[in-house]
């Protein structure tokens, strides 16, 4: 793609502004969090144009924001954050994304890397067999007729009541894994048909399971509050979303909103920014459906957590109690929330869109469970398959500047076709082995597209949010076993 034609104004080493007069129709300026070295790549991908387009949305407050893992998306850039006043602003499904509540969770264990190294092949095989993954994957959890509605209404709580996981898992899940004001009836029967066979499955693309070991602790006290206490401590990540159901919901409501825009007299430079006023029927129905899809994703991650705990204990020959396997936290990174923020001295209720962005609440925030009240909210940042992932904590600065948001992971840098040309699936496997990572995947071709070279450097992304003060580094982990869909 040609270089973005606009100019970014430097505010400081981590903040770059797109002035409001860049494009006629922008209601607010844009603000991209990035370091100077990241700019050439950001400018080459045209994502700043999307940041500018989002600024057209009615009711937008503050800035049209982008996190350092910014890259081109549908309407909103990936890494985009935008907040609209609920009273006169809009909600936009493109600001959430197709994979509603794609998110990640991490479990802590009482084991170290040395404990698991003798069993990495068995762990890889055990996890690969325990959680269906890959295309068309189905068959994990059988639902009774109409049970899908319970999944959509209750999310993680449905899963725990079915015996998948522990009651305390709900405390350490964003929204307790159950958004209120979900309405399964707003989810089309087609979406329900796609979702019913997929509960407890991993899906494909960039979804994965990962067994990792802590290799650096930046803030020991905060880490300890999160249950992270030793270098070498084994942690387990689960990353996936709402599967076919979420996609169908996004499709259904994008279609509705494209039609609704004329009715509400909204005109935007990109059809994929299709939106409707938050309190309109279309807006309310979308939010109710989106919350249902989000609940589905949490239920899904909860079911997978159960399967992972069982597989881990079986392979290691220990009990769950000895293994630990506590859920540290679960965060969504494609979602819209109704939250209050102080804007120009007044408290306003806003519809905050986080698309490829994570919530980053500070210590003391009422939404956090008691155990994290003094530490702040854990933020999980998965990097690419071969290098590292981070655990961060939310800050007050995030509340002031980014509507309580931060990055979500390493953004893609290379197209899938280019990634495949660069390395074959076999070469990626060999490369992973050299790095000490055991990989299991259903598709070598899909694996090639997920090669580390295809992603931006997560370290630079995290350094920016840390440097900007919107999150703080708590710990870093390195992968040992990766299961990819």
């Amino acid at each position: 793609m040609p270089r973005w034609p606009g100019n970014l104004e430097k505010i400081d080493d981590y903040r770059w502004r797109i002035p409001r007069d860049y494009k006629e129709g922008m209601r607010k300026p844009g603000l991209i969090y990035a370091s100077a070295d990241m700019l050439p790549q950001i400018l080459s991908d045209q994502a700043p144009e999307q940041v500018a387009n989002v600024a057209f949305l009615p009711g937008i407050v503050g800035y049209s924001l982008a996190m350092p893992d910014i890259h081109w998306g549908y309407g909103f850039p990936i890494g985009g954050v935008a907040a609209m006043r609920v009273n006169d602003g809009v909600v936009s499904p493109g600001g959430v994304g197709f994979d509603i509540n794609c998110g990640v969770r991490v479990l802590s264990t009482e084991l170290t890397k040395n404990d698991i190294l003798p069993k990495v092949k068995e762990l890889a095989d055990g996890f690969f067999n325990a959680v269906p993954s890959g295309v068309g994957s189905k068959g994990a959890v059988k639902l009774g007729s109409r049970e899908i509605d319970d999944v959509l209404a209750k999310g993680s709580r449905w899963a725990v009541e079915r015996g998948f996981g522990r009651p305390e898992d709900l405390d350490t899940t964003e929204e307790n894994g159950e958004m209120k004001d979900a309405d399964p009836l707003r989810v089309s029967s087609r979406a329900r048909e796609r979702g019913t066979p997929q509960v407890g499955t991993l899906g494909s693309g960039n979804h994965f399971l990962e067994i990792a070991a802590v290799d650096e602790i930046y803030e020991p006290d905060t880490a300890r509050a999160f249950g992270i206490h030793d270098i070498g401590q084994v942690m387990i990540y689960i990353h996936c979303g709402s599967r076919g159901l979420g996609h169908q919901v996004a499709d259904d409501y994008i279609r509705d909103m494209v039609r609704a825009m004329q009715k509400y007299g909204i005109s935007l430079p990109d059809k994929q920014l299709a939106c409707a006023p938050v309190f309109s029927p279309e807006g309310r129905h979308y939010l109710a459906a989106m919350r249902s899809a989000a609940n589905y994703a949490w239920a899904n991650r909860q079911c997978i957590t159960h399967a992972v705990r069982q597989a881990f204990c079986r392979v290691m020959g220990i009990t769950e109690r000895d293994a630990g396997l506590a859920l540290v936290y679960d965060v969504a990174h494609n979602i819209a929330k109704i939250e209050d923020y102080v804007v120009e001295g007044k408290t306003e209720t806003l519809c905050v869109h986080r698309k490829g962005a994570t919530r980053a609440f500070p210590a003391g925030h009422p939404e956090l469970p008691a155990k994290y009240a003094s530490a702040g909210q854990p933020i999980l940042i998965p990097g690419d398959m071969g290098t590292m992932s981070y655990i961060l904590v939310g800050t007050e600065m995030a509340m002031q500047e980014t509507f309580g948001s931060t990055c979500h992971g390493a953004g893609r840098r290379q197209s899938r076709t280019a990634a495949k040309k660069a390395m074959s699936g076999h070469e990626v496997l060999a490369d992973m082995e050299r790095r000490g990572v055991t990989v299991r995947t259903g598709s070598l071709r899909a694996l090639a597209e997920e090669a580390p070279g295809a992603y931006k450097d997560v370290e630079t992304v995290v350094d920016v949010v840390h440097g900007a003060g919107i999150s703080r580094k708590v710990a870093r982990t390195r992968p040992v076993v990766v299961i990819k869909g």
Binding site: Y74, I78, V135, R194, G244, V258, R416, S443, A446
Partner: protein
């Protein structure tokens, strides 16, 4: 029955796109569908043991393309069907009817390369004069 559909892939950072064409616009819609399935599976490995008649309706040709492709993806998810041949029997600016031929996905014979999650409107073009279509998919 083998049909040679005309399509080529286009590069896109996070996803995959297609440029497809046909002798008629209906042919272009068919080629786009074939191209989409080829992203997921090798077309030569798909037998024709199942068929589905699909009808979609939308407000304009672009939305119609969106509906057509996403309708096919619904069958992939809900019925594990993969299609390799498409007879678009009716096409207007707002309606498309097609008979689609394929079979149920068999993990033993079919290697799934990439799961296409959705068609998108990004850079979408339906050129009614040249019978050419461009579309980007979310994978």
């Amino acid at each position: 029955m083998r049909v040679d559909y005309k399509y080529e892939y286009i590069e896109h950072t996070a996803d995959i796109g297609l440029k497809a064409s046909g002798n008629t616009l209906a042919g272009a819609y068919a080629a786009t569908a074939a191209g989409m399935f080829s992203i997921m599976i090798e077309p030569e490995t798909v037998k024709e043991t199942e068929e589905r008649r699909i009808c979609v309706h939308a407000d304009d040709p672009e939305s119609l393309l969106f509906e057509w492709l996403n309708e096919l993806l619904y069958y992939v998810d809900a019925q594990s069907l993969i299609f390799s041949r498409f007879d678009v029997t009716e096409l207007s600016d707002t309606d498309l009817v097609a008979v689609c031929h394929g079979e149920v996905y068999d993990p033993g014979r079919h290697e799934m390369k990439n799961l296409v999650k959705s068609a998108t409107y990004h850079l979408m073009e339906v050129d009614r004069k040249e019978n050419r279509i461009q579309v980007i998919f979310d994978v």
